[in-house]
Symmetry: C2
Subunit: 299 residues, 2 copies
C-alpha cells in the first residue's frame, strides 16, 4: 500500500562551522518521501517554484516517488537557511523565504485517493487539515509539527489532534504544548488531546512511543560523527510510515519495528548534508544497521 505525504518541498542552505551548503534539496516532505521510498510507494504533495533544479525532480523520480501531486508554479521555491553550532545540536534560522509556499493549496490527484496511509509532515496545520479533508478513507494518519505552529497556529493544531491517529513531536515541543516538564506526563496529556499514538523524538537520545500496547523506548543508532541533522526527524517519520504501509495487518503489531526503521534512516540522514546520504542509501545498509541496533539493545 502507498503512503501519501504532504509537507514542505524546499531548498535548504545549511551552514556549519566547517562548510556552507547552498540550496540543497530539503523540506519535511522531501526527507519523509525519500525515507519512505525504501519501504513503500510514495505519493508526494507539495509545491515548487520555477527555480527548482531539475536534478532534484530526477532525485525524487529515481526513488520512484509519484510527483503527480507536486505543483510547479511561477515564482521562487521555499528557501530556508540555517546555521549549526559546533556541537550540531543548536541551530538558528538565518532566513526563511516562503516563496510559492505562501499561496500553496495542496490538492490531491485522484490517483492519490487510494493512499490509506497519510503522513502530514511538518507544514501549517491549516494545510494538514486541507489534505485530510480530501483523503476519503484513511487507515492511519500521522502528523508531525514544529514549534512555529505551536506559537502561531495552536487552535488549528489542537483541532487537528482530534482527527489523527498518531502525533509526532520533539521533546521541547511536547513541553511547550503541555507545560509538563516530565516527558511521560506530557505524553499522557497529549493522549487526552486526541491521538491514540504519541511519539516523542529526542534526537540522539532516541524516541518514545506511547500507544495501546504501552511504552516503547526506541533507541537512536550510535553515530561517531553527525554531519547535518536537518531532516532527521522527517526521515524518521517517513521511514516509519513507509514500513507500516507495506507491513499489513494491525498497526500495533508493527509499530515498534517501524520506529526502529525510522531511527535507522534518520541516522543515515545525519551522515550527509541535506539528502545526499539518504538518497544514495541501499536497503541492505538499512537492514545491517537495524540488526546492529538490535544487538546493541539486547540484555
Amino acid at each position: 500500500m502507498s503512503v501519501l505525504i504532504v509537507g514542505s518541498t524546499a531548498l535548504d542552505s545549511i551552514k556549519t562551522p566547517k562548510s556552507e551548503n547552498p540550496r540543497l534539496l530539503g523540506g519535511s516532505a522531501s526527507h519523509a518521501a525519500v525515507a519512505a521510498s525504501f519501504f513503500s510507494p510514495v505519493n508526494l504533495v507539495g509545491v515548487v517554484g520555477d527555480d527548482f533544479p531539475r536534478r532534484y525532480l530526477q532525485l525524487y523520480r529515481r526513488r520512484g516517488i509519484n510527483l503527480e501531486g507536486l505543483q510547479s508554479v511561477p515564482g521562487k521555491t521555499f528557501h530556508w537557511s540555517g546555521e549549526y553550532e559546533a556541537n550540531m545540536n543548536n541551530r538558528r534560522t538565518l532566513l526563511t523565504e516562503l516563496g510559492v509556499f505562501e499561496q500553496f493549496t495542496p490538492t490531491l490527484p485522484k490517483s492519490y485517493q487510494a493512499s490509506r496511509f497519510v503522513l502530514l509532515a511538518n507544514i501549517a496545520p491549516a494545510l494538514q487539515h486541507h489534505v485530510l479533508n480530501q483523503a476519503p478513507r484513511p487507515k492511519f494518519v500521522v502528523a508531525d509539527t514544529m514549534d512555529l505552529w505551536l506559537n502561531i497556529a495552536l487552535p488549528d493544531l489542537l483541532k487537528l489532534l482530534k482527527r489523527i491517529d498518531a502525533f509526532v513531536l520533539n521533546d521541547s515541543e511536547a513541553h511547550q504544548l503541555t507545560k509538563q516538564d516530565n516527558l511521560f506526563a506530557a505524553m499522557r496529556r497529549i493522549h487526552q488531546l486526541g491521538p491514540t499514538y504519541v511519539i516523542i523524538k529526542k534526537g540522539s537520545h532516541g524516541s518514545v512511543l506511547s500507544g495501546p500496547r504501552g511504552i516503547f523506548l526506541c533507541p537512536a543508532y550510535p553515530l561517531h560523527k553527525v554531519v547535518d541533522p536537518t531532516g532527521a526527524g522527517d526521515s524518521f517519520v517517513g521511514a516509519m510510515m513507509g514500513y507500516l504501509a507495506v507491513a499489513g495487518g494491525r498497526i500495533d503489531d508493527h509499530m515498534r519495528q517501524a520506529m526502529i526503521y525510522g531511527s535507522i534512516v534518520a541516522c543515515f540522514c545525519c551522515e550527509g548534508f541535506g539528502l545526499t546520504r539518504t538518497s544514495r542509501l541501499r536497503r541492505s545498509e538499512i537492514e545491517t544497521r537495524a540488526k546492529r541496533l538490535r544487538q546493541m539493545t539486547r540484555f
Copy 2:
C-alpha cells in the same frame, strides 16, 4: 562475593520548589552501598562525625552493610546542601561543609581485603588511589567521578584511569574530559586513557556502555514523577557492582544485565528524597520493573 565501596558518607540538605529536606542520609558511598546491598554483601569505607544520626547507622545495618571500615571521628559529618529547579534537572550547590572529610584517610580493615569487586564511588581521586593501594587482588575495579575532580585533580584522575577496569561518568563530564562533543567519539578517547569499560550516564536518557563486546544502549526506566534525583548515579553504579559481584563467571556475560539493574535501582532512588525510597525497596519490586523495562525495549 562482596563489594568494597569507598566514597562519601554525608548529610544532604535538599531543597526543591515544593519542599525542604534537611540532613538526609546522603553521599556517594551511602547511595551505592544501599543499592548494592540488594544483590551482594557490602563492605563500606567512609567517615562520619560525632553528629551523625544513630538512625542512619541503623539504616546501613538493616541493609546488612558491613561498617567495620566506617570511621567515626570527632567533628562534623560532611554536609552538602543543594537546590533543584522545577524541572528537577538543574541543581545548584548552596553549601559544602567538608567537616571530618577534610582529614579523611580511608583504611581497609583486614576483613575487607577479600572483596575482589571494588567500587571507588565519587570522592577525591587521591583517596580512590589510596584505597586501591590497599586492595590486594581486585578482580574488577570501577571508578565514578564528578566535574569537581576534573577541575581540581585532573592529573590524579588520569593516573587512576590507568589502574581501573571501568570508568563511569556522565555525559557533560565526558565532554569536559575529552573535549569531544560526540558521545561515542568521547568514549573512544576515554578507552585510550585506560579503562576497558566506559559507561556514560545520561540521566533520564539512560546510559551507554562501551566494552569488549561493543556498545550497549541501556535505557532508563520511565518515571512520571521525579522527586529527587540526588544519588541516582551512585545507586546505578552500586547496584551494577552488587549484581556483578554475585553473578560469577565472566564480567562480559553479565555487564548488560548489571547495568539494567543499576538503571532500575536508580529510578527508585529518584522517587523519594535521599535514600527514603531506596532503603525501603524490596528485591521483588526491582525484578518487576526490570521485567517491565525489558518489555518496553523489545522489538
